[in-house]
Every structure is written in structure tokens, then in C-alpha cells.
Amino acid sequence: MAEVSYTWPAKDKTSVLGKRHDRLDGLAKATGAAKYTYDINLKNQLIAKGLGCPHAHCRITTISADAAKKVPGVVHVEILRQAGAEIEWEGELLAVVAAESEGAAAEGVKAMRDALKYEALDVFVTEADLEAAKAAGRTTAGAGSTTLEKEAGDDEDEKEFEKKEIERLLKESAHVVEGFYGIDVITHCCLEPHGSTVEWQDGKLIAHHSTQNVSGTDDQFAQPLGITAGDVTVHCDHIGGGFGSKFQADYWSIAAARIAKETGRPVKLMLDRDQELKLGGSRPSGYIKVRLGADKDGIIKVWDSEHWGTSGASGGAVAQGVVPYVFTPKNLRRVVTNIKTNCAQQRAWRAPNHPQGCAITHVAIDDLAAKMGADSLEIFKKNLGTDDEPGVGGAKPSVYAAEMDIAAKLMDWKAKWHPHGKGPAKGSVVEGLGMAIHTWGGAGHNSTCRLKIYPDGSVETQCGSQDLGTGTRTVMAIVVAETLGLPVEHIKINIGSSKYPESGPSGGSTTVGGVSESHRRAALDALAKIRDLVAAKLEVNADDLVAAGGKIVSTKDAGKSVSWKEACSLIGLKPLEVEGKYVRGMTPTTMSSGGVGGVQMAHVAVDRETGVIKMKKFVAVQDMGLIVSPKQAESQIYGAVIMGIAFALFEQRICDPKTGVFVNAEMATYKLPRLGDIGEIVVELYEPESERSRGVIGLGEPPVISPGGAISNAVANALGVRVPILPLTPQRVLEALAKTPKA
């Protein structure tokens, strides 16, 4: 048996891995040939629509299907929430109406809404105001903690000691920053809303479901429907956005499945746009009051903060572990307050907690630089510490430092830098630079790949993973192609079905590590079998055979080789089938790991008369261990930066303080950046051998973390005034300027 080493080839020895490849499904997506869940229409299907609760907090007194049933074309109505139910956010679905057409379903929903009666209850949605939240009885104490270098004496009251010690440290600090900062709730705003088209065949459910979790959703459908996971097939070839919000079967899709069973017809239910924004997922807000003390060199010695925010009707604020973000001052007090609002509960949003942590704490570090009249880059750098004595978590200080140097060069930071508010003005326009840094885990999830090699030489894989739009198919094909010495196009990748071998949900940047492991392992195992067959034919040692350039060739004697096709003809009549499996934490590996660092810098221009901000340039330098597919990696970072510009400058869930209604739950008013708003984006992939040797690490989350902090800092640098809460709208810029007269 040929020896198998589960490792990656050296960087200079690859032919496919780490090279630039077009996305395998790029053409299908660009031409519209790719079928998303929204595109799935089945013969004889019903269209279902949900009735959303019109009030943010109420008790249902009358709900009836009668009016809807009178609408021509309405076939079935399922009431989800009966009279007496307390509803805690606007848009919560109370009923589902299934009809012959979309129009009839909508008319049925309207008829039910017109007949709906409810008792309005108190509403609270303005969580930025902590005192108002307290007064409304909406707060609960969250996790908090204090870490101090000094310990309380045996006879001292610990709380009292902590208080005194924090005050002492602040008093002894050469520089103290006191600040208030925040970041509002945003939604996932998936362009393809949540939903499914479902049908029953012989007592089994087939769910075409917009999901980032094909392997893990079958059971979620099965349990409430009283069937087994084996009776469910979840299918999703392409998904139009998930960002952490599409791991679930969701109660509306389960209702669609019930209606499909009841009526004996397929049912399509995709949320409407406003429902997508209201129910499809949101990211918690975070607001913070900080006192930060630093020594004369700008090294942070003490951090004292209270932060609060909401994750919706169940409360919950940004996790304390990201306060302050990345930096780990030795003296630290964090108080956390959770706030319950009348809004739908949060769902994981790309790098949960991190973007908020970065945006509400790296601004304080930048304000320290501003107060000192120092270069922000220098202050960030000084606080990194050393690899032996780190002042940061996540990646090594040396990684951040090297990335800062690269980013500074790409930004031309030194030449462009000016102290905060001291740059030249052109008319009413001023410019500024800002930066932030970030970290993320990104270790691979469990994954199994079934690989088949056919006697005719064709190769295909099956894996219960999904492509979020990140290029997962391409990554899988690259890994298999590299291993088998074949071109990428030779590999047929099959994903997107719960009937394929199980693979983890695509969240937390875990996919690329997991699927690279399973596909590499499967391909190496299959190749070992091929090498054995070829070795017998050529009468050479299997360990001397490698797959390269479409051949199986001896490293000892280049004259001894067979073509891939010939090698595969040795398999026999049935295809060679192997499974490669990776179990996180169990499978010993050097092929993947976790923990990355990134540095981002922003260059903005601000019109002081209108408060309008324009992105001029954005630099993103990112570590991700071994890079499988540079083109997709870059693409991922471009997307992340654009998403970051969105929440830094545009995106915001606006809930009406009087009614709690999510008033901008439409694409017309839920603002997102357009091409003209993003400026120049420069992406640099950081892959020195020291990091490449750590293997594959996920990239989905990290680059979306820093834009908020970096852009806010750039605006503060331009204006000499901190605009405290993201997004930095013209209104907020003008209000911050109005509070601070120009020097």
C-alpha cells in the first residue's frame, strides 16, 4: 500500500493550489443559469405568504382565517398564533396563507390583517439611551468582569478595592480618554430572502431551502413534522446571501411543509422584502462609555467601560470578550447591561460580536492618539507588545506589526497622515486616515467527502456542504485537482444536498478548513489506491509514484509513467470510491488550524457643510494561513470591505420610537452602498511561510470586522471631532460638528 502523508505541498511545488482560478460557477451565476431557491418553481405549486404582526408589542384578541378564505384563489390558511398570544415584535408571522397565485395570497393576507384585532402593549426600541431603557424596566445585568494586576488585601472589600484601584490607575495615567461610542443594529438583508419550496413524495419531504446548513437542517424539518431526518432531503445549489442568518429550517418553512402535506401540493414560501429585514436576522447593537488611561508613551494601562445594547426581545448585548477588542490591557473593568427591545431576536452576523467590539473600542484608542497629538498607527503599534509579551490576543503581535507595515505602505500612510483635525481643507472638504485591527478563529468544521474515480478517468465528489457565494466549489476542485495532478475543470463537485456525506454548516469561517481537509484526505486516499495499481503495472514502488500533469509518474524514472486515464482503467468495472473525513479536534492534522490577524486602513473625505462622507481608499491586509485560492480569497475580502463600508456609513435598522415599527424595512430606505460609494479597495493577502505552514484557515469573517473602526477613525482624523455612533450618516456628522465649535 502506497504511503499517504496528509500534508500540503510546498508553495513552490504546487500546480493548482494557490494559483489564480476563475470561480467554477461564475458563468452560471453571471448568466442566470444558476438556480437559487427563489428560482425553484414546482408544477402545481401554491404560493404562500405570511401575515406579519402590525404592532411591535401586543396581545392578539381576534384572529380569523375567514376573510382570507373568501378571497378567490386562496386554498389554505394556517394560523400560527392564536388569540391571547403576546407578540413581541412587529412582523412576527401570525398566519400563513397559501393560494393559487402570489396576488391571491397577498390579498388573503391583507384581508386577514384588516380583520385582525389586538390590544397594544408598551413598546421600547430606543436602546441607545441606557437611562430610558432602565426607566422602562428593560435592562438586566449582563456578564461583567474585572482584572487587575494588583490584588485586594485579605481584609479589603474586593469591589471597593477594584473601584479605588481603577481610579488610582486612571489618576496616575499620563493620558486619559473618556468617550461614548456606539453602533446600531443592522440586518442581514439577504438579497435572496429566507424561505423554501417544499413538496412531499411518498411520505418524504423534499425541501428546496435557502440555507447555509444543508446537512444540519433535515433534522430541524423532521422533528416538528413527526418524521425522521432520513425522510427529509434538503437541497440548496446556490444561496443569495446568508451571513449567519440561514442555519435554521425556520418556522415559516415548516408551516409551508405542513400546508404542502395538508393540500397535497408543493408550496413555495419566500419572505417578502420587509419580512426578510424584520425577521430574517439582525446584528446586536452596542454602545459604550469608556475611560481609558495610558502612560506617556500611549501604552494603555487601564480600561474601564460600561457597555449595553440589544439582541432583540430576549435581551443580550455585545459579548464582553471583545471589549476592548484584540488589545488586552492588564487592568480592566467591564460592566455589561442587556436590553430587551420589541424587535426580533438577533441571528449570527458575520463574525458575531467582533465588528461591534472593534467599532466601539478601537475608536477609543484612536481618540487616545488624537489627544496625544500622536500618529494613530504608532499608538496601535506600540500597544501590540511583543510575541514574548503580547499586548493583544488572536494572532501574534509580529503578524499584526508586519501587516501594519504593509498596509501603511499601500496606503502611503506616512505621507498622507496629519494630526486629527489638522489637515488642509479644500472648500468644506477635509480628509483623514484611520485604522483598526482584528482577529478570528476560523478553524475547519467536521466534513466528509465521498470521492469517486471512474474507470474512464472522470472524478467526482459529494459533500453535504454548500457554497455561500464564497467559492466553496472552486476550493474543493482545486484541492482535489492538486492532489490528483489534474486540471481544476476535470473535477465534478457535488454539494448542496443533505443526502451527501455530512459537512458542517457554513458559519464562523469554518468551511474552507473543513472541506479542504476532507477533500484532500479523500483524494490522497484514492490516489494511494491508484498508485498501488500503477505500481503493479509498471513494476515500481508505489511510494515513488506521484500524480502530476495528468499522469502517474515515477519520481525515480520519469520514463515510467501512465496517463491518468490509463491509470484509472486499472480500477476495474466499478468506480473507486473513498471517503475522506475530518473531525475537528479529533483528527490529527497539520493541514488546517485557526487564529488569524488582519489590519485595515481607511482614507476618507468629509464635506463639513453636508456631513457627507466619501470613501477614497481602503487597504485590507489579511492573514489566513495557507491560501487555497487567491482569487476567491481576494473576492471574499472585497465583499467584506464593502459590507463593512455599509455598516460604517449607511446601514441602520430604524425603529419608530412611538410604534416600534421597523420603518425602513425596504431596499429604498434601508441604505446600502453602491459602486460609487466604495472608493478604491486594495487587498493584500499575507502568506509568509510562517503563516502558510499553519495550514488552511477560514477567511469569511475576519475582513468584515475592522471597517467600522477604521472608517470612524478616519472620519475623526479628518474632522478633529468624533462622530460617536455608526453608521456615520450626514445627520450624525452634522450633529457632532454642531456640538463642537470649530477651533
Binding site: 397577498a106 390579498e107 453636508t610 466619501k614 425602513n664 425596504e666 429604498a668 453602491r674 445627520q731
Partner: protein, 329 residues
């Protein structure tokens, strides 16, 4: 969306006939606004009359004396590039601000001018006056009116082109309801501040339709529109102003300044015009006009910042009209 009758007339007479006997009828003139409102069931017409196939509504002509007559269904992309519009940069600026080729290619002049308000209470199905104005007064009113908002109506007029048309002295040809009715109204007369729920923000009677917009000869007027926009997309501006000015011997002889997105109608500022007539146009006089324009603004609880934006929009529209730098984006 409710089921409705759909008609595609090809003559003005047919349009009037179809509008006269169809229950609640809506005019489809591009549809980028109406279709969305129908899908959300904010507007539920019994009949939709598509006027896009009426040849006489699609004409773009230069008449005697430099008058330009634009059919109501001429699409915005045509106006953006047609040489007849060269003398009216204020219109071009406004259309350019609708930074979306699909909207420009599908949207029409008549449809743009008579689109319904963007107010999120209205679009959320609460009516144009949303609890007699109290929902806006007590609610999130960051994008609402700072002028003309003392009554129940506190939304802002959405048209981006109407301020320019009014500044340029355009008139609208309105026909109906009876086949022989024909009026030529100043464009500003198409707008009103509704006082009761059910009243619309335009003055058209049921059965009436705008067929043409007529631009007077430019007569040496220079013009510009300046929009304060949050981003480069097609989103509605936060405030805007259109200005048309005539100089005599280097001094402003007359001026018409119209603000957009600040009141339930396009808002003509005589104060701004009065502040600069007789002066040369420079940074200081433009600033003075801006200040005069907003002197009587009455912001609501959350939209005080719009006063600064309206002031700046007036200043920059004037500077642009005079061919000067605005000093900003």
C-alpha cells in the same frame, strides 16, 4: 397585489375614457413607483391605465420661440442626453442624481413629477397624514418636512425634477376629466398640501392626466440643481434646491429658487431670491440666499439637520448655476 383591469390606450381620448369609467383608476407611466405601491397594497386600483403606448405623450419638440414641449412619458434617459435640454442644466442635474440606469430608462417625466411621497408611514400603510400628523410628530421624522409642516401633512414631496421645472417656469398641459377639458398650469400648481386623509398631494382631479410639460425659452437664464445625497445610489436626497437666475450687467436681475425634499410640496423660496436680486453672485451672496431660504424653517423633533442641508443646497445650486465651484462634493 389586488386583481385589476389593465388597459393600454393609444390615444389621449381613449385615456380619458378609460379613466372616466373604471372605478378607482391609476395611471401607469413607467411604473417604478406605482407597481411597488400596488405590491405592498398601499394603492389598490380597480383599473390601471398604461399611458406608455400613447404616441402623443411621447413627443419631444422644440416649438416656435424656443419653447420645448416634453411628452409626459418621455423617459428620463432621453432627457439626460437630448440636445433640446441643453439650455436647462437644472433638469439634467436632477435626473443625473437618480443614479440608476434602470430607473432613468424606465421612469418618465410625468411619472417622476407625480410620484407618491416616500414617507415611511405612508408606505407602511398608515395613510398620507398618519394619524393626522401625530405619528410623524411623535415618531421618527428624520426625513420629514421642515417647511409647510404645521398641518397634518409632514411628508416631503418626492419629485427630484419638479423643483427644477418650477424654477425654470415650466407649465403642465392637463387634460380631462371631460374630453374637451384642457388646461395649462404652472408646474407648482400641480402640488398641494393635503389637509384631510384621502386627499392627494397633487391637484389632479380623478380622470385628469398630465400630457406634456412645457419649458419656456431659456432667455439667458442659467440654472442648476444641487442635491445633498447620502451616497451615490438612486436613494432620495436629504435636501435639494434648484435655482434659475438671470444676470444683467454682472448683477442678478431675477431669480427663482425652489427647494426639494423639505416640504409636502416643492418649496419656492421667495426669501432666498429676494436676498440676492441686485447683487453679484459669489460665495457670500449665495450663503446669504441659503440663510434666507431657511430662516422660517420649522424642523420637527429629529430633522433639525435638514435646515443646514437645505441652506447648503440653495447656496450650492446658486454657485453651480453661476458656473462657480461649490466648495463641497
Amino acid at each position: 397585489m389586488k386583481n385589476f383591469e389593465y388597459a393600454t390606450p393609444t390615444t389621449e381620448a381613449e385615456v380619458l375614457e378609460l379613466l372616466a369609467d373604471g372605478g378607482q383608476a391609476e395611471i401607469l407611466a413607467g411604473g417604478t413607483d406605482l407597481v411597488g405601491l400596488m405590491k405592498k397594497m398601499v394603492i389598490n386600483p380597480d383599473r390601471v391605465v398604461n399611458v406608455m403606448e400613447v404616441p402623443s405623450f411621447k413627443t419631444l419638440e422644440q416649438l416656435d420661440g424656443g419653447v420645448v414641449a416634453i411628452g409626459a412619458t418621455v423617459t428620463l434617459d432621453v432627457l439626460l442626453s437630448h440636445p433640446y435640454l441643453d439650455p436647462y442644466p437644472a433638469i439634467r442635474h436632477a435626473i443625473g442624481g437618480i443614479a440608476s440606469a434602470p430607473l432613468q430608462c424606465q421612469g418618465t417625466l410625468g411619472g417622476e413629477v407625480l410620484q407618491r411621497p416616500q414617507c415611511w408611514f405612508y408606505r407602511g400603510g398608515k395613510g398620507l397624514l398618519a394619524a393626522a400628523g401625530r405619528d410623524v410628530e411623535d415618531g421618527d421624522n428624520r426625513f420629514h418636512a421642515i417647511f409647510g409642516n404645521s398641518g397634518a401633512a409632514k411628508f416631503v414631496s418626492s419629485s427630484r425634477i419638479a423643483p427644477a421645472l418650477i424654477a425654470l417656469g415650466a407649465t403642465a398641459r392637463v387634460v380631462g376629466p371631460s374630453p374637451t377639458d384642457e388646461q395649462f398650469l404652472p408646474v407648482e400648481a400641480l402640488f398641494r398640501i393635503p389637509r384631510h386623509e384621502g386627499e392627494r398631494e397633487n391637484t389632479l382631479l380623478p380622470g385628469q392626466v398630465v400630457t406634456h410639460v412645457i419649458l419656456p425659452p431659456v432667455d439667458e437664464a442659467t440654472s442648476a440643481t444641487y442635491e445633498v445625497r447620502h451616497g451615490e445610489g438612486p436613494d432620495y436626497p436629504l435636501a435639494s434646491a434648484a435655482a434659475a437666475i438671470r444676470f444683467e450687467g454682472g448683477f442678478i436681475k431675477d431669480a427663482k429658487i425652489v427647494l426639494g425634499q423639505v416640504a409636502p410640496t416643492p418649496w419656492i423660496s421667495h426669501e432666498a431670491a429676494d436676498a440676492i436680486i441686485g447683487y453679484s453672485l459669489n460665495e457670500e451672496t449665495a450663503e446669504a440666499a441659503g440663510k434666507a431660504a431657511v430662516a422660517s424653517a420649522q424642523p420637527l423633533s429629529m430633522n433639525g439637520y435638514k435646515v443646514q442641508l437645505a441652506k447648503t443646497a440653495v447656496k450650492r445650486a446658486l454657485l453651480l448655476a453661476a458656473g462657480k465651484e461649490t466648495g463641497g462634493f
